[in-house]
């Protein structure tokens, strides 16, 4: 399991490379609520609003690049590359 920390209005790491089948967990360590939403039209993954210390997990079953953003703060972006 790989973790992405949400803090100070950013995803860390902003770009992450994992292998197929990996579960990525986003943890909100910020004081502000955030979401994790894939940028593609199909919305491959989409979390509910994550308050402080709440988590969201998604297992990547296919190789590819998965850009995502926070729908409350669209300038917050990240990317998961699945190999």
């Amino acid at each position: 399991m790989t973790e992405v920390k949400i803090d100070n209005f950013s995803f860390g790491p902003s770009a992450l490379t994992v292998s197929v089948g990996t579960t990525v967990t986003w943890v909100n360590r910020d004081d502000i609520p955030h979401t994790v939403v894939s940028t593609d039209d199909a919305k491959t993954f989409k979390s509910k609003v994550l308050d402080t210390d709440e988590k969201f997990s998604y297992t990547f079953g296919k190789a590819g690049a998965y850009p995502y953003f926070c729908s409350i703060h669209p300038k917050m972006t990240g990317k998961v590359i699945v190999q």
Binding site: N8, F9, D31, I32, P33, T35, K48, V49, D51, S71, I72, H73, P74, K75
Partner: protein, 149 residues
């Protein structure tokens, strides 16, 4: 993203709610300021300035409420809110009602020409200004303007 898609225009990278909100905040606070000044100086001109500021504040509240609710329904798919977002929503609704109420009191007095504005409007205006300020502060905190973002 499509430039003519309503969701794109309203939210993605634009976030019209956080842009539009500055109009009612500024107009309402200035309107209240001039109303207090008019009361103190006993000048009709200042009262007129207050009225028109409060009128435009009330009008500009409508698109702010609409874009805020649409952001909740479209971007967050209407999910049950909690914490700061819920507080912002509740405070925003109360503030909007108070802004409209204050304008309505001024409108009512103006329609009955010569009628003095009721004295109890002043504490209501003061309370409304506090609600507007707190709602704006919460919004700024949520958007990152008042925080690290």
């Amino acid at each position: 993203m499509h430039p003519f898609d309503i969701k794109t225009v309203l939210f993605a990278k634009h976030a019209q709610h956080v842009v539009l909100i500055h109009f009612p905040i500024a107009l309402f606070i200035i309107g209240v300021f001039f109303d207090f000044l008019a009361q103190w100086k006993k000048q009709r001109l200042l009262a007129a300035v207050a009225y028109y500021n409060l009128l435009v504040a009330a009008i500009s509240t409508v698109p702010v409420v609409v874009t805020g609710i649409l952001a909740w329904q479209w971007e967050l798919e209407g999910q049950k809110l909690k914490g700061l977002l819920l507080m912002h929503l509740v405070m925003g609704c109360i503030s909007s009602v108070l802004v409209l109420l204050v304008w309505f009191m001024h409108r009512k007095a103006q329609r009955k020409q010569g009628d003095a504005l009721p004295g109890y409007r002043l504490p209501i205006e003061a309370v409304a200004a506090v609600f507007v300020a707190v709602t704006g502060h919460l919004g700024g905190f949520l958007s990152g303007v008042n925080g690290a973002g």
